[in-house]
Amino acid sequence: MSRLQSLTVQVLLEPERAFGLSMPEWDLLVRQARRANLLAKLAYVLQDGGRIADVPTAPRLHLQAALRIAERQQLALRWEVECIRIALTEVPARLILLKGAAYAMAGLPAARGRMFADVDILVPRELIAKVESVLTIHGWRGEDMDAYDQHYYRHWMHEIPPMRHVRRGTSIDVHHTILPGTARIKVNTAALFEGVRSLPELAGVDVLQPVDMLLHSAAHLFHEGELDNGLRDLFDLAGLLRELGRDPGFWAALVPRSIALGLERPLFYALRYTSMMLDAAVPASVLAASVAAGAPSGPVLALMDACYVRALQPMHGSCDRFGTWTARMALYVRSHWLRMPLHLLAYHLIRKAIKPDKTLTEARAMAAPHGGGKPQA
């Protein structure tokens, strides 16, 4: 297996390498890291090593700008979580944070410099309607969607349509489980709720227990079809393994828990690609157990390797090589294949082909660079 490492990955794994870079290499590094949404992480890595001042001025200004955005986001996140917590006191549901918001509020170093666009929360399915109405009262609104998209979310997906706060403009994704109800893998959601932990310093804010946090991150990445943030998510996994793995109980529980939740396959991929591509230190016994529990057949694995090694790269032209486009396309198709049974998939794709996805187009238009001139609200 060839080990294709982008400059970004090389420097993130071995920060010392940054100090031997030429200006054109710095130029490339900033480009790649920005496209991979890893510029702030890179900045933290260099700052934590006490050497950010040694970076040449021009690239250093970009790193420091990324730090400012990341710091600001952490602050904004805390405020947002507090607003959500207050809103949800009106519902007999615990506030369970998922993904980026959970890593940040749990104080995990994996959250440092991690940029995200929304807060993900998990609530029991029977309380979804109540939670949605309470959030509406507190200023969040479901984004405009046609009846089909509403149906898509509410009947097939594991979350309701994203809601946006009318004044703050912040987004919240309300989930009732971690994979679509139509997905091939059936997650044991009840078990997931049983393992929820309270955050010691934050009354009323919960997160998944460590093993589940890792398993959710794995399930998310290895079901994802659009891998714009794929490398960032792989770094999340590597960071979580390093931090959560300080507790020996974590490693002992990992594979058995993946089997109990039905997530042994995504765990296998997570351990394989974090160790293969990001040098994550996974105990040999855990690796062997995950192979036994979750590895696909040889030919499938060879195909998956070929795809993920190409797709989990910064979305920058310098990281493309033979087969990159095909690999990303194959993983995109696979994600749909995993998400719903064939008859639903066929219906969904035909429907989407006939009628362009309005919400997606709009979300993309908003994310796109626009003409300068007006400050953003």
Binding site: M23, R31, Q64, R68, R72, P369, H370, G371, G372, G373
Partner: protein, 305 residues
């Protein structure tokens, strides 16, 4: 080497390969475009700007590329990209050059957090800068274009870069973006000014860019101490009136017109406060550019307080 040292076909070659490294102090932009007439417009507008050597670090990689497909032979579209990431809305290829200008503004506003980036025009005379922040439609660009054709140095018509450490303002001395009726107003006011061919039907109406003076471009690397914050308001045929504007109200307006005020947090608050401490603040209503020139002349002649 300056842009004007290159022939238009050399410039076109550099643009096609994505190798045009333009110094827009304090930044460097790497520009790529396969839209034929962009080279002509860059030559026209950026003649006095420095072209950097290939081994330099570029802050922003921007591109305006023609869209593929049959349509390119009928009414071609072009798309902006930043660091290789394509925006999702293509625009008519005729808007390629304004697209580069707006794109560069966006790049600076969204990334240059070593500054407080204020949506304002900045001009200088006698070592003192006037900052003209204003919501769109207030006539800020017209006023700025008028004054830079009467001896004021252009720092920027759109983005004031306030250095939080030194309290000085940087500008890029890039072309002035004029819209609709302003284009003919400035043409009549300054017949010697050089413009791009106006592009109709943009989201901002008809747009033309005006070439910055050589003097402004040569001094683009000299930051200036701000002395005045002036909120312009154009009213047809109104008399020119300069009146003192309350500091608190000015503070709110400058904060609101800053792209990254929120990102700076407390630093941003202190920066706006420091900026205001250095400046007299005024509102300025005007109906004729000649009156405006006289009022600004008087301001510049007053001794520094």
């Amino acid at each position: 080497m300056k842009v004007s040292d290159l022939s238009e076909s050399d410039l076109r070659g550099l643009l096609r390969q994505g190798n045009l490294l333009l110094q827009i102090s304090p930044f460097v932009a790497r520009i790529r475009s396969d839209v034929h007439k962009v080279a002509h417009e860059i030559a026209l507008m950026y003649g006095d700007f420095t072209v950097c050597q290939p081994e330099v670090f570029a802050d922003f990689h921007v591109e305006v590329a023609r869209e593929a497909g049959l349509r390119r032979w009928v009414s071609p579209l072009a798309r902006f990209a930043f660091d290789g990431k394509r925006s999702f809305v293509p625009l008519p290829a005729a808007q390629a050059f304004p697209m580069i200008e707006w794109g560069l503004n966006w790049c600076v506003a969204a990334h240059a957090h070593q500054y407080l980036v204020i949506h304002a025009a900045v001009i200088e005379k006698g070592g003192r800068a006037a900052v003209l922040p204003a919501p769109p439609g207030s006539g800020k660009s017209t006023l700025c274009a008028g004054l830079v054709n009467r001896g004021w140095r252009l720092l920027s018509d759109e983005l004031a870069l306030y250095d939080l450490a030194t309290g000085l303002i940087h500008g890029m001395a890039r072309p002035v973006n004029l819209k609709n009726a302003s284009i003919d107003v400035i043409r009549a006011f300054a017949p010697e000014a050089v413009f791009t061919v106006p592009v109709p039907d943009t989201t901002k109406g008809t747009v033309a860019l005006m070439r910055p003076s050589s003097g402004s471009v040569l001094r683009a690397q000299e930051p200036v101490r701000p002395a005045w914050i002036i909120l312009p308001k154009y009213e047809a045929n109104a008399e020119a009136v300069l009146s003192v504007h309350g500091k608190a109200e000015t503070f709110m307006l400058v904060a609101e017109q800053s792209f990254n005020y929120d990102i700076h947090g407390l630093r941003g608050f202190n920066a706006v406060a420091d900026l205001l401490d250095q400046c007299a603040s005024h509102t300025f209503t005007y109906g004729h550019l000649d009156d405006a020139v006289r009022v600004f002349e008087r301001l510049a002649a007053e001794p520094a307080s």
